[in-house]
């Protein structure tokens, strides 16, 4: 699995396999069980999690109702933005929907790594840009689509999500009721 990551990083950066193997030794790899909460609402959490395997759900809890707002899979970063940028508490929970393997990053400690491996900084920037680009696309799709179209977008762009996320959470993410989601799926299955 680490080799897969090294290969991926080698593709998107100018670091050699050897340099990457060396870097890997110094990174903090952690595994979490399904159901583990990475970040709690109300917590100021200053670590970020770069997902290598698994799926994380971001949700808010209001009056006992969960609203799912994001799903993070391989090569995406999980973090509480208010915590990292302003040392303010997270407004969301981030929970593992599957067992998760990730690299734990501490933005305050990054500088040392970058001083040692300048090309790593380029790699990080590439990774962020990838994630950023995907986010832009996801949001644009969300904004321009009816719920049915949003479902079709997911089917096309992130079909794995449809397998990996429970129906009621998907429905919440799409902004519809679970019943509406069922109806949409039946309608599409018939086409």
């Amino acid at each position: 699995m680490r080799q897969k990551l090294i290969n991926y990083f080698a593709e998107i950066s100018s670091l050699s396999h050897d340099e990457l193997a060396e870097v890997m030794e110094q990174l903090d790899f952690k595994s979490f069980e399904k159901g583990a909460v990475l970040i709690h609402e109300g917590q100021v959490h200053n670590k970020c999690y770069y997902i290598i395997e698994g799926l994380v759900r971001q949700y808010s809890l209001e009056d006992g109702v969960e609203k799912s707002v994001g799903f993070f899979a391989e090569y995406q970063t999980v973090m509480s933005i208010p915590s990292i940028t302003e040392q303010k508490p997270s407004k969301y929970y981030f929970v593992c929907l599957e067992p998760v393997t990730c690299i734990v990053g501490d933005p305050t400690e990054e500088q040392e790594m970058y001083a040692k491996y300048p090309k790593l900084e380029t790699l990080t920037r590439s990774m962020i840009e990838q994630d950023f680009g995907q986010t832009q696309e996801d949001f644009a799709n969300f904004v321009t689509s009816s719920p049915e179209k949003r479902y079709l977008n997911l089917l096309q762009n992130r079909p794995d999500l449809l397998q990996r996320v429970p129906q009621h959470q998907l429905a919440s993410y799409l902004g519809i009721t679970p019943e509406s989601l069922s109806r949409i799926r039946k309608r599409i299955a018939k086409k």
């Binding site: 707002v69 920037r125 962020i128 990838q130 950023f132 680009g133 832009q136 904004v143 321009t144």
Partner: protein, 191 residues
């Protein structure tokens, strides 16, 4: 304008005299007339834009109608992210006023970074901050009611209310122009 740029980068990290000079001289600055389209949805663009003066609006076309989802003002970045993976732009970006923008692209940036590695650090921080800001924008957009969206905009960019046409403001907060009038009247009456 060039001084403004140096000042902005200095806020992120103090610059050496040499770094300040290279930024000043290599910055590509362009004037755009109101109505100028920077990037079209579906277009492949490698440019990044930094707003020195003016206003840029982000929108998609939904059944022929413009759905506005963001505004960018002074010292904000408009980033079309397809340096990797060759993705087309997810949005239209248009100048809502006569604007002065700094242009950048990865190829020209890479040349400068190879000479001045610390500038790459700054670039990474900028992308991180911009991404974080963007994610927060999306989260707020998804969670807010139209009235909340209006109030949030009023708080963060009070002058924007004057600078954009009502129908675009309405589109942004997700209501018909008539509803926007009602929301504004309601807010004015509140103590």
């Amino acid at each position: 304008m060039r001084e403004k740029i140096v000042k902005y980068f200095s806020k992120i990290t103090p610059l050496s005299a040499e770094e300040a000079t290279v930024i000043k001289h290599s910055a590509v600055i362009k004037n755009y007339a109101k109505g100028a389209v920077l990037v079209q949805e579906g277009q492949f663009s490698k440019e990044t834009f930094f707003v020195l003066q003016g206003l840029v609006r982000q929108y998609n076309l939904v059944d022929g109608e413009e759905k506005t989802t963001a505004f960018f003002t002074e010292e904000q970045w408009v980033i079309a992210l397809n340096n990797l993976g060759d993705k087309p732009s997810a949005y239209y970006w248009v100048c809502e006023e006569d604007s002065v923008l700094m242009l950048g692209n990865d190829d020209s940036a890479q040349k400068i970074f190879s000479q001045f590695p610390r500038l790459e650090s700054i670039a990474r921080k900028i992308v991180e901050n911009t991404f974080a800001e963007y994610q927060q924008t999306i989260l707020n957009y998804l969670a807010d009611s139209p009235e909340q969206r209006y109030v949030r905009l009023l708080k963060s960019h009070p002058d924007l209310i004057q600078r954009i046409p009502q129908y675009q403001l309405a589109s942004y907060i997700g209501v018909k122009p008539e509803s926007l009038s009602r929301i504004r009247k309601r807010l004015m009456k509140k103590p």
